[in-house]
Amino acid sequence: MNTPSDTGRQAKLAEHAYRLRRFALRMGEVQGQGYVGQALGYADVLAVAYCHAMNLRPDTPEWEGRDRFLLSHGHYAIAFYAALIEAGIIPEDELETYGSDDSRLPMSGMATYTPGMEISGGSLGQGLPIAVGMALGLRLKGNPAFVYNSMSDGELDEGSTWEAAMGAAHHGLGNLICLVDINNQQADGPSSKVMGFEPLADKWASFGWHVQRVDGNDLPAVITAFDTARALTEAKPRVILFDTLMGKGVPFLEAREKNHFIRVDPPEWQQALDILDQAQGAAR
């Protein structure tokens, strides 16, 4: 049962997620394209990560005590920049530069371009094995920070993901939390059709991980999953499998024929923003 403070926290995070979705849509409008379907679907997870779970100092993105967040799926950069803006790491007006020449916000995430971007993702399947090395390094230093690796369900096809899954369990990396966005969509179609990955929770468990699978658009469930992963004392890595809906929050995009790269026509950007604004206004 929710306590009043739970309800207040959820309302606050819902507001963050709403703003995050708006930032992503505005960046998409700048270029007339972008992975906005994924950004809308994953916004709740990112809002909880950046506005609830993680230890951060927005004015010092490289603070040694920060929790590390690796964006393995570099094409989610549009969603991630929205989170960085909402967390106060990047100024809001910079979103106007998204994807432009010399911008700090390239279309695919690059570590050397963007404050708060820990790795250059995009060559898929690299985040989790990098996270293993960072988690080993943090433990060796006695630094209690967590390493979060965020990845897509398509990356479950990559062999390196499972090399890292074995390695993380073997080394008992309790400071490693893997987040998987399961929107069941990759370049050539539904992920389950491209390369079947179920039973996914069983797979991770059999590799020696603590596993949670939740609806990634159910804020209370997402909050609880993060809290649980952080609070565990077992010396084993943790994975949270988030089932998400591409386009979440904008019904005409939710209903659009599902594609890895969702089509948005020019007038629809403003329509989508209006829908988000109306829904959030009603929720307040």
Binding site: P129, I130, A135, A164
Partner: protein, 333 residues
Amino acid sequence: MSTATAKKPRLTTSAMIASIASEGQRTIAAPFGKALVTLAEQRPEIVGLTADLAKYTDLHLFGQAFPERFFQMGMAEQLLMAAAGGIAKEGFMPFATTYAVFGTRRAFDFVHQVIAEENLNVKLCCALPGLTTGYGPSHQAAEDLALVRAIPGMTVIDPCDALDIEQAVPAIAAHNGPVYMRLLRGNVPLVLDEYDYKFELGKAKLLRGGNDVLLIASGIMTMRSLEVASALAADQVDVAVLHVPTIKPLDTATILAEASRSGRLVVVAENHTTVGGLGEAVATALLTAGVSPQFRQIALPDAFLDAGALPTLHDRYGISTDAMAKTIKTWLA
């Protein structure tokens, strides 16, 4: 009694573990492992990672000395490279070891994207470079230098002997950025102590002068070149040997200065295919500078190499001392 089977000669076999040292040659055991342990006593940020090949890359010595700084990554080279990058991002200096075939061919994108693209301070030390095993193409890294040379910002080292390795280890640690070093493991020949030589990152060194031929070499081919120079001296052929242990960045100034001296046949000798290694690097440097001596390449063919015993294979592909001397005499005739 039939003598047919009794007199059958013993067949030569493939030589995985065998040292590249020739019989009677002076050697030092595990120079890489020993040098790393010595250095790591002074440098607490050094960590060691391997992919199930600690014993076969001499990294086990580091693991025994510093068990808390040693990480076994299993037979998983993509994980090895990415985790090395990750731990470097946390301020450590990883030495990551495996065989050259796995470190380059199998894990290439992880070396390229995770390590090199961010200029991370990872030292890749990869054994069995070029043709130093008889196990066939699965283990023969005949194209490793071509692959790593193509990576922006990568420093590439091909040491000749135990002394070179011992001195290269602290030198590559002193360099901030990714390094690929070809590793000789086990009982490694000791040759360069007879010369006025010291390893310096980025420097080519003239080991002996000579007026007829300039042999430009790296790695074990420098050792072979010195033997060739001695052998040809008996035939009144005067051979100079320029050792180029740093393949990238190339010491073009020294190479050009030596190659510009007129009248000498310039031969590049490398334990690598003709494609993309030291030979092509030197040729590019010479042509770009307008220096055009008579130029030849001693290298492995652009082919999948045979399995067999190393001495047989080195003869077959022209990189044994005898084969090299014969080839050079043909070119001079």
